[in-house]
Symmetry: C2
Subunit: 420 residues, 2 copies
């Protein structure tokens, strides 16, 4: 029997234990600030697996000095990362297996059929906040590691399992693993991709645009200048920038994606009195950042483009539109599509699933960007969760997919890190 067949067998024979453990993890709420409980479960599990375990509260002092740090908080008491290392024998390529345990708020409880942390299993699906995004994915990683341990497979390269916090809040967890010293030759993050393989992941940054008008009484609006009318000109101008930025993208990985790096205006608020001409409008949105771009060059491009508004409308010369940057950034991530690690993952996918995987660029960011750009660890995003259910009520994951992902990942780890 090949190693891969043995791994598959082992995984198949240990499904129930992992369903039970996933249920425990899902039933342990872990919104921002409340991660300690679930991380303790993970740390104990890793201990049992015989990994070298490290658990530490994120270090706000060192984080806030880093240009890529973002969070809505600066101290992280009782919000720990957990890292478990399966040391290699040496001379092999290392791998990071990264998954977050923090979950987004559960929202309106009345919209959950079974309560937000039920962990209930119905028809092969497990329900609960975090099941798909992304505790189910983390389970796939742990199954892969235990399968390797159980089969006494000794690898040359290190296997570094990272259970992080703060992914939903800006990436401080993964960033602090990097500041703690962890990097590797490749990484997988099993975010909910519907089993698609994302060699590239879009980054993003939030912006605020402020448009100024001049007030007047609503009975004589021609004495004023409507900031709403001007904001629509700005809206159109931003659409042109989106077109320019996207016309540049030729990578076939984006062939099925209408707009690889969109610019979304998410909100527009201006004026406060029906009988007055509005004199200020604020737009807030998100600009997509392509792999290979830096945040700084994208910000500069947008600011320069906004300045050209004065050529379109003289009002903007005396009343320049302001651009501000705020909120979380998502660093774009990438690994070359023909990278040997990707090739290995793809082959193993075909073996396990009996069909080719879909390789596509991801429209949303993950901590993969930080691993790619800051830790210089090429990262692929691939996982069993159901993308469209993430962040919604009645979030769920198909258990079968977790086991398929575990098999694919286990085989890929063994190939990458090389048997001794």
């Amino acid at each position: 029997m090949s190693i891969k067949d043995k791994l598959n067998d082992w995984i198949q024979n240990n499904e129930q234990r992992y369903i039970d453990f996933l249920q425990k993890l899902v039933q342990q709420p872990s919104t921002q600030g409340n991660e300690k409980g679930v991380q303790q479960l993970v740390a104990n599990f890793l201990h049992e697996l015989g990994l070298k375990v490290e658990m530490w509260d994120l270090d706000g002092d060192r984080l806030k000095k880093h240009p890529y740090f973002y969070s809505n908080r600066e101290t992280f008491e009782s919000s720990p990362n957990v890292v478990g290392v399966l040391k290699g024998t040496g001379g092999g390529k290392s791998i990071i297996l990264n998954g977050h345990v923090d979950v987004v708020p559960e929202g309106d409880h009345k919209q959950w059929d079974h309560g937000p942390y039920s962990g209930k299993v119905i028809d092969g699906k497990m329900f609960g906040r975090g099941a798909t995004d992304m505790k189910g994915g983390n389970i796939a990683l742990l199954m892969a590691i235990e399968a390797i341990q159980a089969l006494h497979i000794r690898l040359k390269g290190d296997v570094i399992f990272q259970s992080v916090v703060e992914e939903e809040s800006g990436g401080a967890g993964t960033l602090d693993t990097i500041l703690q010293g962890y990097k590797a030759d490749a990484a997988i993050i099993p975010e909910p991709t519907n089993m698609k393989i994302f060699p590239k992941q879009q980054g993003s940054k939030w912006f605020r645009i402020i448009v100024t008008g001049r007030t007047a009484h609503g009975g004589t609006p021609y004495l004023g200048v409507s900031a709403i009318d001007k904001a629509f000109i700005v809206n159109e101008h931003v659409k042109e920038l989106e077109k320019t930025r996207n016309d540049r993208i030729t990578d076939p990985l984006y062939d099925t994606i209408p707009v690889p790096v969109p610019i979304n205006i998410g909100s527009m608020n201006g004026g406060d009195w029906p009988s007055s001409v509005p004199d200020v409008v604020q737009l807030e949105g998100r600009i997509g950042i392509a792999p290979g771009e830096t945040m700084e060059e994208v910000q500069q491009e947008m600011e320069d483009w906004i300045k050209t508004l004065s050529e379109i409308d003289p009002w903007f010369q005396e009343h320049p539109v302001k651009v501000e940057w705020f909120g979380a950034r998502w660093v774009p991530g990438e690994i070359e599509t023909d990278h040997p690690f990707v090739a290995s993952l793809v082959n193993n996918f075909v073996s396990v699933m009996g069909e080719k995987p879909t390789l596509v660029a991801s429209p949303w960011g993950t901590d993969g960007g930080l691993l790619s750009q800051v830790a210089e660890t090429p990262t692929v995003v691939f996982g069993p969760g159901i993308t469209d259910l993430a962040h919604f009520p009645n979030e769920a994951i198909e258990l079968e997919k977790i086991f398929e992902a575990a098999k694919i990942i286990a085989a890929t780890i063994v190939e990458w890190c090389e048997e001794d």
Copy 2:
């Protein structure tokens, strides 16, 4: 000496008494709900003049049954109207002299050089909230009445002086004088017109427009439909309606007015998350109503026009744009430009001022609309206050203009009501 010369003389010799009384009125704050104090001063003054005085708290029960009632309150304890009548001998045309005593809030006290209710006189100007809008105008009316009394001029028609509340809040004061039974053959309201004569006054009504989109994640906005983009289309569509409505207006009274009946979008609010496609946008604004139009036909025209959006964009077929009506209405007012009352006012203006008056359509509403449409009392708006200072800090009025207005109005009353 002609009657008019005598009236002018009397007014000139009694300026200080009226400056003093105006100061008392201005120094008596009279924001909404706090009008009793100033109305008591007015009622006493009318008693002294020998008029038949009526003072009553507005009747919320009868008001709320009236389709033209609007206020942010339904009960009016301690908020009285005051009416003083100089009975005519009979067989003459009557006149209503209407002025409000309620004032808008004073705003940020720090922006007032002398405090919002100072009544201070500097270089021929009196400062204070209400001085220009419109206690100074009311003083001109009272001077005219007392001049007529003092000169023992007996008139055939009734002179009905109305000191009302709630003008700034929707007109319930004047409406309740109508429900109390008061109407006349003509009326003057000395709102602050900079001594211009407004034979027509714009009405208005507030509307709310709700535009629907479809949400999606900001990384894949093409899966959604931006309610902001759709609101832009609606904005342009509303501008077309404004053009259509204004192209109809040919009255030379509007020759100097760029847009006689504007449609102002005063506020726009939509979306709440930079990383989401906005799925609802709310616009609020004010539509101008021309004299001769009813509120109902204007509302119908706008609703019908909004429905035609489905011809422009199929999205609106499945997701119709909603129009709602809310807030205060201002009924448009008018008197024919060649009405004998206007002719008399114009002649007297020329006599007193030595130059022709400016006749123009007013861009804002007054209680003149209610008098015109509900009481069938043709109304002209003409007064000594400074339009641009109304509602602002450091509101002020030129005292000289009050006396000029008093002379013009006194002569007009005598001509209209006819000496016995």
